[in-house]
């Protein structure tokens, strides 16, 4: 890197001239630049440095706003009614307000990841020192931090180097948040540009966190054969005390595992995780268990399976304390961001804290020292388990029927269910002793509990659903590939050419949360479909858990059925939320390692390369969070299209191309400077798919890129047509827009294509060397 802090501390030194004691010397920065790649035009970009690039994308992919609210309530001038073109007291209209909300959501997401990374880095530097070397893949990875190199121009070598990168991200997030204040930005596209900016920053922040923990905590290092770990509620050995960790920050889990190992009780307790912290604890310790995605929180707690609940940060139900209290499970909050109103016991002796929690004197504590969390959690679990005896709040089947009879069929539950599930019908059947419909709900319910909040009869509807699904729960014993982290340089070299030329039909990154419209099986089905078609399937977060929660006809999970490499037909789990940065990193590394494009501070050129050449699509089928928004925004700026499931419409804005408008699809041919119409490739930058079936087809289409060779395009079109016939029941109606020469037409579909092309007055065009950047044109036309 280019700058380092020098800090010299001498406790005692005898010299010829005397004794030196307690000398500390700090020199701000010294130049130590062994990063020989030339610096590109935009190292550490400011809010506006990449604005022109954003505007290119936003001209091509125009926002379609769907306001969730007619009002703005953010300042005391308001509430202001912004309906249908009215402006608020500050002058903002509804389009600008909508984009402002998008930007703020992305800023919250980026702040969340970056703050998480900051905590990790701080903890790891404290434990291992600033000079601890980074190692994310040994000799297989030379480009260790592609996103950071691209955005900041820094090549980090040590944990301390990451500090400088993180400082930059923190400044940018602050700048973006400032933009959200009343009376700042006044244009929706500028808000959109800043949303993309903070999305890009988010990927830097995530990368810092994950490469720090991979390096220091010994996580799998770009290993296609990272261990298979146990997944599912039934994989937990309930004869042992169970410590359940929820959240995203692995440090408290590390404390728990280390303590259990040190005391040689690691085989006598179960350490299980829910949401992304589960991924990271299994990267650290393969005997840990992944319970499942975020939506499994209530299931696990109400079923009485947790003897102690440890909360770190992000995506934690804020009523966990109440839920855990009902089953006698003490709660330990372990993050400054999530104190839960508990008394801070960090400095109290562990014996006292354990005694208070086991006796029930207090039901929850705040402990901000991960090592102390480890000791307290393990000891409490060991002592509480025999007292609790798996106390739960689930009714018996007989009680279930009686409770269901108290339902008045008012439909409040359904009207408050985010999925609009037919809960009243299930209750009616249950009242007659038929729990089939409740059991069906177990498979698809996202576990939010809103039905119970709405019920005027105070029926614990979700508990009834859990009880009805108990048999299914007992079968949830599956496997997840432990998060492997980055994609190695060797893998990039192997697939760079077939990806860019289109012969590997695409990369499908299935990421994000579990707000699925019809349960996690859709995720499994989508992944399996595309892996079978030899797309590269990359997973992370809750989606990676859902994908591993089902088995094929031979009883194999997805991770057993397909290889774990970044290869055609591979299904790889990068890991937790912060590991999403490796997906962006892989795309960036294709441009760098395969195409030899310079990375360093060269964002626009690399994004232009990825947008026009790399057939990658992000799918966040159950995206719910602000973090998912910022991850998506980071992909948008790289020009990678993102699809969301139907709930993603609640992000209130899509970025859509108009395929029938030829001016939308012009690129420069870098060889000649000519403008060439390349068709809608990719058609959208951010869109929603309403159903799994539609999603399947949309993914195949969104993998099409202007740079595809005729062979690659032919392969991509054959998948697009085949999936459309299978899932939509029709031939696509826009094939003529994707055929450039007759060589693009799949040979087995020639007759069908010819008819379509003739009907649409199709004309042959050229396959350009595509770019949106005039400066990339080697010979500009006069």
């Amino acid at each position: 890197m280019t700058a380092k802090n020098v800090h010299v501390k001498i406790d005692e030194m005898k010299t010829g001239s005397g004794l030196i004691k307690n000398l500390e010397l700090s020199i701000g920065k010294v130049i130590n630049d062994n990063y020989t790649e030339p610096m590109g035009p935009t190292p550490m970009p400011s809010l506006t440095a990449l604005r022109d690039w954003d505007m290119k994308l936003l001209t091509k992919y125009k926002p379609f706003y769907m306001p969730d609210c007619d009002l703005c309530c953010l300042c005391t001038f308001g509430k202001c009614d912004l309906t249908a073109g009215k402006r608020g007291a500050c002058g903002l209209d509804i389009a600008t307000q909508s984009s402002r909300i998008v930007m703020l959501a992305c800023a919250i997401g980026a702040a969340c990841h970056t703050a998480h990374s900051r905590h990790l880095l701080h903890s790891l530097i404290e434990k291992y020192g600033r000079r601890y070397p980074l190692d994310v893949g040994g000799l297989n990875i030379k480009v260790e931090a592609p996103v950071s190199r691209l955005v900041t121009g820094i090549k980090p070598e040590t944990l301390g180097d990451l500090d400088d990168i993180l400082t930059y991200t923190e400044e940018q997030i602050t700048q973006v948040l400032a933009v959200g204040h009343t009376g700042q930005e006044g244009n929706n596209l500028d808000f959109e540009s800043k949303a993309m900016h903070v999305g890009m920053i988010d990927h830097v922040g995530m990368e810092v966190g994950d490469i720090a923990q991979i390096s220091a905590l010994g996580f799998p290092k770009a290993d296609p054969e990272a261990p298979l770990v146990k997944l599912g509620i039934a994989s937990v050995d309930r004869t042992k005390p169970v410590v359940m960790c929820i959240g995203h920050n692995v440090m408290p889990s590390v404390g728990i595992i280390d303590y259990a190992k040190e005391k040689k009780v690691d085989d006598k307790i179960e350490v299980v995780g829910l949401c992304c912290t589960a991924h990271d604890m299994t990267r650290y310790y393969t005997r840990a268990r992944v319970v499942g995605p975020i939506s499994w929180e209530l299931r696990f707690i109400r079923a009485g399976l947790a003897d102690v609940v440890v909360l770190d940060e992000q995506c934690i139900r804020t009523d966990v304390y109440d839920e855990a209290s009902k089953v006698g499970s003490p709660v330990i909050a372990a993050s400054e961001k999530n104190c839960m109103g508990f008394k801070n016991r960090t400095n109290d002796p562990a014996d006292e804290i354990v005694s208070d929690l086991v006796s029930g004197k207090v039901k929850g504590v705040l402990i901000l020292d991960p090592e102390k969390v480890g000791e307290v959690a393990v000891r409490v679990a060991q002592q509480v388990a025999p007292i609790r005896k798996r106390k739960n709040v689930l009714p018996s089947l007989e009680e279930l029927t009686q409770i269901a009879k108290t339902c008045t069929q008012c439909k409040s539950c359904q009207r408050n269910c985010p999925q609009d599930y037919a809960i009243p019908a299930a209750m009616k059947a249950a009242a007659k002793g038929d729990i089939t419909l409740l059991t069906d709900l177990y498979e698809t319910c996202i576990g939010c509990g809103r039905c119970e909040e709405a019920c005027p009869q105070k029926i614990m509807i979700h508990s009834l659903i859990i009880k009805a699904g108990e048999k299914s729960m007992e079968c949830e014993d599956n496997l997840c590939r432990s998060g492997r982290g980055a994609v190695s340089d060797v893998e990039i070299r192997n697939v760079g050419s077939p990806i860019v030329l289109g012969e590997i039909p695409g990369i499908v990154a299935v990421v994000g949360c579990s707000n699925y419209p019809k349960g996690g099986k859709d995720v499994y089905d989508i992944c399996r479909e595309f892996a079978s078609r030899r797309y590269i399937v990359v997973l992370s977060g809750c989606s990676a858990m859902s994908a591993g929660s089902y088995r094929n006809s031979e009883g194999k999970t997805l991770y057993e059925e397909f290889p774990g490499g970044f290869e055609a037909g591979g299904v790889m789990n990068v890991g937790s939320c912060v590991a999403n940065s490796h997906i962006a990193g892989a795309a960036i590394k294709v441009a760098n390692i395969f195409a030899k494009r310079s990375l360093r501070g060269n964002y626009e050129e690399i994004a232009d390369y990825i947008h026009n050449r790399l057939g990658a699509v992000g799918l966040a089928w159950g995206a719910y969070s602000q973090k998912a928004a910022s991850i998506g925004a980071g992909f948008w700026r790289l020009g990678v299209p993102v699809l969301v499931g139907p709930h993603g419409v609640k992000y209130r804005r899509m970025l859509l191309g108009r395929k029938e408008d030829p001016s939308n699809w012009e690129v420069f041919d870098a060889r000649t400077g000519n403008k060439v119409n390349v068709g809608p490739a990719p058609e959208h930058l951010f869109n929603m798919a309403e159903t799994k079936e539609e999603c399947m087809v949309a993914i195949a289409k969104l993998c099409i890129r202007p740079n595809d060779t005729w062979k690659g395009r032919s392969i991509k079109l054959s998948h697009y047509v085949d999936l459309s016939k299978r899932y939509l029941g029709v031939m696509p109606n826009d094939l003529h827009l994707f055929v450039r020469t007759m060589a693009d037409v799949p040979s087995t579909m020639k007759d069908e294509f010819v008819k379509i092309l003739e009907a649409n007055n199709w004309q042959e065009t050229v396959i350009p060397d595509p770019t949106l950047l005039p400066r990339m044109v080697r010979k500009m036309k006069e």
């Binding site: 379609f64 769907m66 306001p67 007619d70 309403e690 949309a698």
Partner: protein
């Protein structure tokens, strides 16, 4: 039933849909429209009334009224399976974006729809699409044929039972020349 949003949290609206108290009112408005358009979503095969799927009622209605249909999600194949050819199939967001574009000349290129009717999309998706239309195409008339009150539409049926819904759709179909 009530004219409150079916999903209870969808209340943040200052301009609320006019309730359609009788199906004849909806028919009159559709007949008055020069270029109506019907957008049918994925719940068309998920919702049942009197043992029949919603899509079957909608095919009857579309055949009778001659209102062109845009099928979203994977509904195109479902229509074709039942012998009905929709005018177009398109992603829900794509058709929503076109509706709010005043320069869009409709499916046939002859003019922008003057009445956009939505039915059978997931409630929250339809709600947000209607919100987009309300805000960004304020002169665009919108209607929903669902049995769930949609606050952002210009006109919406109140929340109604499945039996009432089926009856409404049948009455509407019967009021067009092509109806039985």
């Amino acid at each position: 039933m009530s004219c409150e949003p079916w999903q209870c949290a969808e209340i943040a609206s200052t301009k609320k849909a006019n309730p359609i108290q009788k199906p004849e009112i909806a028919v009159a408005m559709i007949k008055r429209a020069q270029r109506p358009l019907l957008i049918v979503g994925s719940n068309a095969t998920e919702r049942y009334m009197e043992g029949k799927q919603l899509i079957e009622y909608l095919i009857d209605f579309a055949n009778a009224s001659k209102v062109p249909v845009v099928a979203t999600a994977h509904m195109v194949g479902e229509f074709i399976k039942r012998g009905y050819q929709p005018a177009a199939f398109m992603n829900a967001m794509e058709i929503g974006q076109r509706v709010v574009d005043p320069e869009w000349m409709g499916l046939d290129g002859k003019g922008h729809p003057d009445l956009v009717i939505l039915v059978g999309l997931p409630y929250y998706v339809e709600s947000l699409m209607l919100s987009g239309m309300k805000h960004f195409a304020p002169d665009q008339k919108t209607m929903t044929l669902d049995n769930l009150y949609h606050v952002h539409a210009s006109w919406s049926f109140p929340n109604a039972t499945l039996e009432e819904w089926a009856a409404n759709l049948k009455v509407m179909t019967s009021k067009f020349n092509g109806g039985n």
